[in-house]
């Protein structure tokens, strides 16, 4: 384990609570308590699955993630084959080995080949009682929005039939408010990272984010409010050589960020489906649309995954982030066999270069903690960034 580059190392008690949850995942005390009350827990596989709909049905939605470290994936390889991304294989292996046996349902989207085959193979071999996959269009046109809304409505109906309940507009609004609050609090946390001396590291932020999709949102919001209070009251700051952004495939291992930050490259923002792409853009509830329309609109319009067309929508938002957070260099980490991000990489590097922002491209496996080789490359990248000043 590497140390964070803290120069003013004040303990954050709220952060410890998030860490406890992450260390216990998937069978956290909160999930087990929820189950003990006779309530259901659903796993979702991709950020294009509207969590609010699950939440509004009284179900605890948790994100299916893989092992928090690089592992031998014998079962994952056997069931999904070696050339699917290690995120899918890692998630599936945990499912096959019963680590998600508390799930009452699994919901996926047709987002990328890896995600949809993870869903297919999960459904075939793991007998989770409820399964649903949403067609997710790749465009942002009105027609695409109509199609996606239709999909979300069908999903809601499927859920209602499975549970024998009605999910009301009022429940959807309440869930949306809870989730919007989480988004607003996370935005506040990220705003602190825009400061000249951010009080929180990238690795610490990732602990917060991991917990955000592994516990009841109401409880998460209360913990995060405490963390923000603690940060406001502290004089934490971190020594750094350069302000960095991490982009690319799904990644939620704080150890990877720690390895970068151990070289004093402070990760001040990111473009990952486990972080900024998860929380950015609230659901806009207004009198013009039903809550379900508002939810579906947000999910399709949200900060895009590399699967979406045109790719410039994503590239522009990456560039905006870089500008807002005064990013000096970008680290792209792409899991082997992650096709959408691998295809985008040459174009993204060009776009960033045109803005004067250099990119370090790393090929990784899901769960990697940042090996010696990665540290060496980060070190060289930081030296290059320093030399540019």
């Amino acid at each position: 384990m590497t140390d964070s580059p803290q120069t003013n190392n004040v303990e954050l008690h709220a952060l410890d609570r998030f860490r406890e949850i992450n260390n216990a995942f998937p069978k956290t005390a909160q999930i087990l308590e929820h189950k003990s009350q006779g309530k259901q827990v659903f796993g979702w596989l991709c950020t294009y699955v509207p969590e609010e709909v699950i939440h509004a049905a009284g179900i605890l939605p948790v994100r299916v993630t893989g092992y928090s470290q690089e592992m031998e994936l014998e079962d994952g390889n056997a069931y999904l084959y070696i050339n699917n991304c290690s995120f899918s294989r890692s998630c599936l292996q945990m499912g096959i080995r019963g680590e998600y046996d508390f799930l009452n349902g699994v919901v996926g989207g047709s987002t990328c080949d890896g995600a949809r085959r993870l869903f297919d193979v999960w459904r075939y071999y793991i007998k989770t009682p409820f399964h649903h996959v949403l067609t997710v269009p790749r465009k942002y046109t009105q027609r695409a929005h109509d199609l996606y809304y239709h999909q979300v409505a069908q999903f809601k109906q499927h859920l209602e039939e499975f549970l024998g309940i009605q999910i009301t507009d009022e429940q959807l609004c309440q869930s949306t408010e809870v989730y919007n609050e989480a988004r607003a609090l996370l935005k506040s946390l990220y705003d602190l990272r825009k400061l000249r001396n951010p009080p929180i590291t990238g690795a610490e932020t990732m602990e917060v984010l991991n917990a955000s999709f592994r516990m009841p949102k109401e409880l998460f919001n209360s913990y995060l409010r405490q963390l923000l209070d603690e940060l406001a009251a502290s004089s934490r700051s971190h020594k750094y050589r350069a302000r960095l952004m991490v982009v690319g495939s799904v990644m939620n291992n704080p150890e990877f960020i720690k390895a970068i930050e151990a070289q004093e490259g402070l990760v001040v923002t990111d473009e990952l489906c486990t972080s900024t792409r998860y929380w950015s853009d609230p659901v806009v509830l207004d009198s013009d649309k039903t809550p379900l329309e508002a939810i579906s609109q947000r999910y399709l319009n949200n900060f895009p995954c590399a699967r979406m067309v045109p790719s410039d929508e994503r590239f522009n938002r990456v560039i905006d982030l870089a500008r807002d957070f005064k990013v000096e260099g970008v680290i792209s980490q792409i899991i082997r066999y992650c096709v959408p991000y691998a295809h985008d990489l040459p174009l993204l590097i060009d776009r960033l270069k045109a803005q004067g922002i250099p990119t370090l491209a790393l090929d990784v496996e899901y769960g990697t903690s940042g090996s010696g080789q990665i540290q060496t490359r980060v070190q060289a990248f930081l030296e290059m960034l320093e030399a540019r000043r």
Partner: protein, 422 residues
């Protein structure tokens, strides 16, 4: 960037090679007439592409499984991006160079090799510059990501055809409207109007062609198999290049007749035919000859290629051309791999194995195909239930360094020996 003459020379190589094969096939009784027709068609396709710009024609590049009937109805010259890059690599012997160029551009080696060759060919300036790029998510992430690099490198505009994941009525309506928008885009870009009568004619031809694909596939159930195992690739590419065109119908009718005659004469591809093999996925195209040779040593013949030859049920209606374009997309053999994995795929494979009297299956696990590879265990388990063993052959469609010829030969030998032991 190389000059337009250099670009032309790569396409000229394809034209010359195809013409040569067609010419050498003529009048030789041991070579099927369909073989000559096929290569003549290819030569004509690339000849038209070669001269398109000079003759003021409008060129639309498009990715795989694209409804070219629409382009032909608008008198637009199609350029199949993956297959053209692939043919350029094969006929000019430059696949290694093009893969290397794609790596220089920054494309990861895990990306499906036809797309890496495409990027390499674009970066090297080996492909003609299209007027527009048309691409879709049929049938994987690679095709969905395959259009923008072409637009970026060629400086042309493009249209992405968003094909929904499932085939409900709602999603079919979505696809139909996407097709209408694409036609509008093409009309605007090319200044040509859609000729709906011509599209209807093309659909009528496609309907006949699908009927012939089915009949040809049915003849492969005959023992011994009359079907030259490598010709599945011709059937596949004929649809990719020439769907809805009379010359494709002519090719298929000729081929069908040839197969009937072979059956009538009691001839088969292997003598004696000992093992009937089902091939899943695309074999390494440079090693097709080697695979056939080692198979025949054991009396093994590939008699089924379900993902290329098993067209779904239904007919096309020339009176409803756009609905028929959609219908055809849904009927394409490879579409069982799209959408949620369900009984469609598994039942199709079981039925195929039974109807074609399969002794063993070879699953060509192309390293670039994630969605195909992810079904390997399910397919193996399902085929085990009907006592059909399956060889999983790790390979790459184009890049022979992933699985060299000798390695593939050896694995095939071991598999055929296993079949002998059974």
């Amino acid at each position: 960037m190389i000059g337009s003459e250099e670009k032309k020379s790569r396409i000229k190589t394809i034209v010359r090679a195809c013409r040569l094969i067609a010419r050498m096939s003529k009048g030789r009784p041991e070579v099927l007439e369909s073989h000559r027709i096929y290569y003549q068609m290819l030569a004509d396709y690339y000849d038209r592409l070669l001269n398109a710009q000079e003759e003021g024609e409008f060129v639309a590049a498009h990715t795989i499984f694209f409804p070219v009937e629409i382009l032909y109805a608008m008198d637009i010259v199609p350029m199949h991006t993956e297959l053209t890059a692939w043919m350029t690599a094969l006929f000019s012997g430059s696949y290694a160079d093009l893969l290397s160029t794609s790596a220089e551009v920054g494309l990861a080696p895990e990306i499906c090799s036809p797309y890496r060759v495409l990027t390499g060919a674009l970066a090297a300036g080996c492909l003609p510059r299209p007027n527009v790029m048309l691409w879709s998510n049929l049938i994987c992430d690679n095709s969905a990501k395959g259009g923008e690099p072409v637009m970026d490198m060629s400086g042309c505009s493009g249209f992405f055809l968003d094909c929904p994941f499932q085939q409900t009525d709602y999603e079919n309506r979505y696809l139909k409207e996407e097709l209408e928008d694409m036609i509008y885009f093409l009309e605007k870009q090319s200044g040509r109007k859609m000729n709906w009568d011509k599209l209807s004619d093309n659909i009528a031809q496609s309907d006949r062609q699908i009927e012939l694909y089915r009949k040809i596939n049915e003849l492969r159930q005959t023992v011994p198999s009359p079907f030259p195992p490598q010709d599945f690739l011709k059937l596949f590419t004929v649809d990719c290049f020439f769907a809805g065109q009379p010359e494709a119908t002519n090719y298929l009718e000729t081929f069908h007749q040839e197969l009937l005659e072979t059956i009538r004469d009691g001839r088969g591809m292997a003598s004696p035919e000992r093992f009937r093999v089902m091939s899943i996925g695309m074999p390494p195209v440079l090693l097709l000859g080697a695979i056939e040779k080692v198979s025949l040593e054991y009396g093994a013949v590939s008699v089924a290629d379900p993902f290329f030859c098993n067209w779904g049920e239904g007919r096309l209606d020339p009176q409803k051309p756009l609905d028929s374009v959609m219908k055809k997309i849904s009927m394409h053999p490879v579409m069982v791999m799209y959408g949620p994995l369900d009984e469609r795929l598994l039942d199709m494979l079981i039925n195929c194995a039974k109807q074609h009297k399969i002794d063993g299956t070879i699953n060509y696990a192309h390293v670039g195909c994630k969605q195909g590879a992810a079904t390997i265990k399910i397919v193996k388990d399902v085929l085990n239930e009907i006592d059909v063993p399956m060889l999983i052959l790790d390979c790459d469609i184009i890049d022979t360094t992933i699985a060299p010829e000798e390695e593939i030969r050896e694995k095939l030998r071991q598999f055929f020996e296993l079949l002998e032991d059974r």
